[in-house]
């Protein structure tokens, strides 16, 4: 299955923030969206998800325009993982995750036993089965993010769109979320994620798009996208791209120069 964005223009109230953006993600791919604050990553995300009216261009699933799809049909193909948040009501984790099943139920139907099993399965798949009976609002940020990913998995979509899944997470939890994303992609899910950490592109061995300040997009594999020049054009700082090795494997990473 393919998720394709063609020549997309988007923004708020007629003001164009993003123009001429294209991207193609296959099942099993990870695609990272990088760029400085205010360049329009979130706007782009919302437009692809149909939460903002598009100002131009197309979003296609297997070559079919998504405009004709209902919210329910779209949700069965593409799931959204928001940033870990605190909702006003204290649901149990299992109840939060089972809401991923709504896209597969009729408009008046309630989740049944099979749906709760799917929710438990999703929790187990992400290794957080122990959280099932905890109260969502009492979890740590990392646990909440994992629970939201489990909800998206329970939705059994072909694509996951993750909005800065590592934002506000500690060092360890960031790595855990990335590992979860990689495992899901290895299992055949297409993953699109925005991130503020260029290294994620190296770590996920992913394709990526770096949105530059002047409105250009640099696309390709990690090594092609993450060059000191491109990173300078995107973030306005000097960045070192360094090589190291870990247990005989070559590892590349980048590090901003702070003087």
């Amino acid at each position: 299955m393919t998720l394709e964005v063609r020549d997309l223009a988007c923004g708020y109230g007629g003001r164009r923030v993003v123009e001429g953006f294209s991207m193609r993600v296959e099942a099993g791919d990870i695609h990272c969206l990088l760029g400085p604050n205010g360049v329009g990553k979130t706007t782009l995300f919302k437009s692809v998800l149909g939460l903002l009216p598009r100002l131009g261009g197309n979003v296609l699933l297997d070559g079919r325009e998504v405009d004709g799809l209902s919210a329910r049909e779209f949700a069965r193909a593409v799931a959204y993982v928001p940033q870990a948040h605190t909702p006003p009501f204290a649901f149990n984790v299992r109840d939060v995750v089972v809401m991923g099943r709504l896209a597969h139920l009729g408009p008046f139907a309630a989740p049944g036993r099979a749906d709760y099993e799917a929710a438990d399965h999703a929790l187990a798949q992400l290794g957080i089965g122990r959280l099932a009976d905890r109260v969502y609002t009492e979890l740590s940020g990392g646990e909440r993010q994992m629970a939201l990913i489990a909800r998206a998995v329970a939705q059994s979509p072909r694509f996951l769109m993750m909005d800065e899944p590592t934002a506000n997470l500690d060092f360890g939890n960031q790595a855990e979320v990335l590992e979860a994303a990689k495992r899901l992609a290895a299992g055949g899910m297409g993953v699109v994620m925005t991130t503020h950490v260029p290294d994620h592109l190296f770590q996920c061995e992913a394709e990526g798009t770096l949105m530059l300040r002047d409105g250009r997009y640099v696309k390709g594999g990690a090594d092609a996208v993450l060059t000191p020049e491109n990173l300078r054009d995107a973030y306005g700082i000097e960045v070192m791209v360094l090589d190291a090795s870990w247990r005989g494997r070559g590892v590349r990473f980048c590090r901003p120069v702070v003087v």
Partner: protein, 330 residues
């Protein structure tokens, strides 16, 4: 939940005994049995008191409590705010203006009820139209609440105007007492049937939507990405809740507090999942209303305005629940 249903039945039975005219429980059993078997020919005092006065009043009170609590619970989830009450979009004030106008013009009671009901619905439809015109796909939830506040205060001004021009010896006290709410006035078979029918439609719709309301409580965007048709769900919830609230106001006046407090207390006990929250609120609202009405009939031989008592009993009960309850649900 089963326990609560039993409690409601027990409370209803006890409520039958409460009042100025003493009727014992066995006597109630006899009267009900005669009624069920169709042999209630006797026009004895007990039968009359129970079947034509107390039973309809009890049923009405229970339905009103259930309707208000269910609407309040649904609204709190949809507006993502536990402090929202069912009249947030102006239904109560709209219905009050309708009733006051009809009373001012000395129209028959059927018209008073009808006009009140229509004005309550109309106020909310107006709010929805304003929100649609102003919102333009933006954050319509905030716009809707603002429009509701504006509409509420507009209707409250209109109500004052109607009261101002009303005859202080005749129409004005009538309007004032009407607005305070009463079960005695409306406790007859016809009203019970009307409210029951509306309750089946509105309450049924809310119960069917309970999982969509769950999703909406995570915010509009998330609900949409979960596959929920947000606009349609919202419209159905608002119409159902408005139908219920408007019906209670037009029959029994404005009874505040129940729709705010009962879902809140229930959430403290069963959590925020509408799978349990909605039906339990519904039963809890019915129990609470019966309790309040019993107290009203015990304290004063005639009758106390229900709205006054719901607040006087509800507030301490709420504080007690806050102290005792599971705070993590808050």
């Amino acid at each position: 939940m089963a326990g609560l249903a039993v409690a409601l039945a027990a409370l209803a039975a006890v409520s039958l005994t409460v009042g100025t005219y003493d009727v014992s429980l066995p006597e109630i059993g006899r009267v009900l049995w005669d009624w069920l078997t169709g042999s209630s020919t006797a026009h004895d005092k007990a039968t009359v008191v129970l079947l034509t006065i107390r039973a309809p009043r009890i049923l009405l009170a229970a339905l009103v409590g259930a309707a208000l609590a269910a609407s309040g619970a649904a609204y709190q989830g949809m507006f993502r705010n536990p402090m929202v009450s069912p009249d947030i979009l102006g239904v109560s004030n709209g219905a009050a203006v309708g009733a006051a106008l009809a009373l001012l013009l000395g129209l028959p009671s059927l018209v008073v009820h009808g006009l009140s009901f229509v004005c309550g619905l109309g106020a909310v439809l107006l709010v929805m139209a304003v929100a649609r015109a102003v919102g333009k796909g933006g954050n319509t939830l905030t716009v809707m609440i603002l429009a509701g506040v504006v509409m509420s205060s507009t209707f409250s001004a209109l109500l004052s105007l109607v009261k101002y021009v009303a005859d202080p010896d005749d129409a004005l006290p009538q309007i004032t007492y009407w607005l305070m709410g009463s079960f005695a006035r409306s406790g007859n078979d016809a009203n019970v049937l009307v409210l029951a029918a509306i309750f089946v439609v509105g309450g049924g719709a809310l119960l069917l939507m309970r999982w969509r309301i769950n999703a909406l409580s995570f915010g509009e965007e998330e609900a949409r990405t979960l596959g929920v048709d947000v606009k349609r769900t919202r419209t159905v919830v608002i119409l159902a809740a408005t139908l219920l609230t408007s019906a209670t106001v037009c029959l029994c006046g404005t009874i505040g507090w129940v729709g705010l407090i009962i879902p809140h207390i229930v959430r403290l006990v069963v959590g925020p999942n509408y799978r349990a929250l909605l039906p339990v609120s519904l039963l809890g609202g019915a129990c609470f209303m019966l309790l309040v009405d019993d107290v009203a009939r015990i304290i004063v031989p005639g009758e106390l305005p229900v709205g006054v008592l719901t607040a006087l009993i509800g507030a301490p009960l709420f504080i007690y629940m806050l102290v005792k309850g599971r705070k993590e649900w808050l």
